[in-house]
Amino acid sequence: MSVENERKRVLSELYRLWGMHMSKTHHVSRRDLIKGMFGLGLSATAVSMIMKNAPLGVKRAWADGHSAEDRAVKAAKALYGSAKKKTISIMHPSGSGGNMAPFTEEWKALTGFDVELIQVPVTETHQKGMQEAVAKTGRYDLMLPAPLSLPDYAESGLAKPLDDYFAEHNPEIFNGPNRLSYPVSDFGQKYNGKIYGLYCDGDWWLLNYRADVLAAAGDKIDSPRSLADTWGRYDELAAKYTDKSKDFWGALEYRSPFWNKFQWMTRFQSKGTLYFDEDMNSMADSPESISTVEELVALQDYIPVENFNYGFTDNYAQYYKQGRGFMEFGWPSLWRYSADVAGAASVIGKRDATGNPTAMGISKVPGTVVDGNLVRADIMPFAWDFVVSEHSEIPEASYLYAQWLCGPTMSQRSIPNEGGYFDPWRNNHFLEPTELFFNSYPGDFLATSYEAVSDVCPEIILRGGFEYHNAIDVNLSAAYTGQKTAKEAMKDAAKECNKITRRLGKDKQKEAWHNLAKMYSDPMKKAAGVDSWS
C-alpha cells in the first residue's frame, strides 16, 4: 500500500471512529462536524463519569498526590488576593486556645491569612453563636461549638453547609485511611443529611480503672479491652471495691447537675431503647429508662457523696487522680492527664522504668445483652466542631483553615498541645500515632478507643437539644437526691421532652430524629428496631 493510500486509510479510520465520513474531497461536512462533536462530547462525558467514580479516578489521583493540609493551603493562598477580609476570626470556648494559638503564625506564613482567636466563656459558646444567628454581624468567620449546637446553628441559618467544600477540598474525613470511623463521622458533623461541622475533637467515653487494684484482688477483665462486659458486672465491681473506711470508692460516677445525664444516656441506651420512639415520643419514661435510673440510684452507695456537687474535673482531681476510686468514666483527657505525672501530679499514673504507666487500666464501656447480642452505647458528650458562619465574608478561607488544622498530620501536632480540649478522633491518630502523640495517650488507650468507636452514640443532637438535656438532667437530679422516685422523675422528664417537641414542631423534630437515629451504630439500630421505622 502506497503512502497516500495508507494516509487515506488512517484518516478514514479516524473519521469513522469519530462518527464522520470522509467526503470525496477529504473535507469534513458541517453535518459530519456536528455528529463528530456530539460523539466527542458523549465520549468525554462518559470518560469523565467513569474516571470520577473510579478508585483511581482523575480527581482522586490528583488528591492522592497531596494531603488535606496541602490542598487547604493551596486553595487558601489562591483566595487570599481577592479576599474581602484578611483575618479569620474564630470564636472559641475558653480553655481551647492551646490547640490553635501555636499554629497561627504558621498558617499566616503559608497562606497570608491571619487568625484572630476570640475567646468566650466555655459555658456561653452556644449562646454567643445563637446571638450571632440573630444579629448577623459577620464578626465570626469560624466558631467552635459542640455538635449539640449544630441543629440550632443550622436551623437558625448561622451554620453554612459544608458539603460543597468537603467535595471540593476533601478533608479526608469520610474517606481514605485517615478518615473518622462511622458512626461518629456522621452524627457529630451532619444534621438532616447536610454537613455543618468539621471535627477537631473526639470525645467518646471510656472506662478508666485501677489495673493494679484489680490484679491485687485476683480479678480479671471480662474480655479483651473490656473490664466489665455488662452493667451487672460493673455494679458488682463497684460494690466489691468500695471501702468506705479507707475513703476508696468503687464507682466515681457523676451525680451533679449537668453531668449526671451522661451516665443515664450510656446505660439506658444499651438496653436497646433510644431517646425517642419512631413517632418522636420520649422514651425517658420507658421501663428500660426507669430501671436504669433505679440502678443508678442503687449504685450511689458506692459513690462518694461529694459527687452530687462535683463535675468531671473535680471528680477526677479530688478522687481518681488521688487514688481514691476504682473506676471512672471519662473523656480522653482523663487518661492523658492521669498518665502525665509531671503535669497533673497524678498519684495513679506512675510509670515503670520504661516510662509506661503501670497502674491504670482502660476499657470499653459496659453494655447490655439484648436478644443475645451485647450492645454497648458509648456516649460521646461534647466533642468540638468547626462551624463556618453563613455571615462570614470569607467562608471558604475559614473552612480551609479548619481543614488544615484538622488534617491528618496537623491534628497530630495540635491535639497533644497543652491548654486545649482536642483529643484523638481520626483513624491515623489511633493506628499510626506519632511518637509524641502516643506519649500523650500512652499505653492501651488509643487501641481501646479505636475499638470502641463502633459503639459510640450521640447525645440528643436535635434542635432544642439543650432543652431536652436539661429536662432529663433536672429530673435525674431529683431522682438521685430522693426528691422523686425513679418513675416519677422519668415520667416528668418524658412529659417535658414531649412538650419541647410539640413546641418546636413534632413533624420537623421527628424527621430530624429519624435522620439522627439512622446514624446510630448497626447493633444499636438493630436492638432499637430503627431499620423498620418508616
Binding site: 475558653s94 481551647s96 454581624t137 456537687n309 497533673a344 497543652e418
Partner: protein, 312 residues
Amino acid sequence: MPNQKFTWYNGIGLLLALIFALFPVFWMVSTSFKPSDEWVKVPAVWVSGKPTVDNYLTVLAPEVLLEQRGGLSQYDAEGNLLERDAGSGSAGGAMADFLTKSAWQSIYGSLILASGGTALSIIVGLMAALAIARYRFGGNFTPFFILSARMFPPAAIAVPFVIMFSDVGASDTYWGLILVYGAVTVPFSTWMLKSFIDDLPQEIEEAAMMDGMSRWKAHLVVTVPLIKGGLVATTLFIFILNWSEFLFALVLTYNKVSSIPVQMAKYFSATEGLLYGAQAALATVSIIPLVIIGFLIQKHLVRGLTLGAIKR
C-alpha cells in the same frame, strides 16, 4: 435617742452579722491563696497550709508563671512537640488561654466602663431628678416611665442591642458599652437622687434665685452641695452595678474590650475545670478599688445613706 448600754448580746449579734457579711470575703481571699487541690476539697480547707501566689500570678503576671512552667515553646526547631520534664513537677510549656494573657486588659476595661457609665448615669440621672422633683417634668408618670426601663430582664434587650450596635459600629467599643451602662442605670440614679432632692427644702434654692442666681446656677451651687452625701452614695451604688455587670459586657464585646466579670468566666481549664483560685484572685483584686473608694468617701457615704431617713 434614749441612752442604751451596749450589752454582751448586742455584741454577739453584731459579731454574727459581721461574720455573715464578711464570710464570703474571707472565703474569696482564702481561696485565692489555695493551690488547686484545695479549691473544692471535702472537708473544706479554711486556710491553706501551703499558700501560693500562683493564682495571682495567673491573673496578673501569667508570663512569670509560664516561665516557671517551662515557657511557651512546646515545639523544637523542627516543629516536634517537646518532651516534658517529668522531674519538674509542673506542666512544661503550658499554653492554656489564661496563661497567654493577663487580666490587666479587663481590669482597665472595667475601670473605664464603670467610671464612664457611672458618670453618664449620674449626670443624666441628676438632671432628670431635678426636672422631676422641682419642675414636675412630664407630670406624675415620668418617674415610673423611667423606672419601666428596669421592669424587664436585661436579657430581653441584649440581642436588639447587639444588632443596633453592630449597625452603628459600637460593638466592642468602650463608648458603646458606656452608653449602655449609663442607660440601664439611669432609672436607679434618677430615683435615688430624686429622693434626696425631695428631702431638700425647695425654699433654699428659691432664696438663691431671689439673690440673682439662674436656675442652673442655683442647682449647681446650692442643691448639689447640699445633697453631696446622697450623690456620693448614689455614685458608689451605680459604680458597683457597672463594675459587676456581666451580660452586656459579654454580648457586646469581642476581643478589644473586656471587663472583669467576663474575664472571670473565662478561667476554665481542660484539666482543672473552673479555676476557682484564679477567679478568687481576680475577685479579690477587683474589690480593691471599691474598698479604696468606699474608704475615701465613707463620711459622705454615711451621710448619704442616712439622708432622708427622717421625713419632714
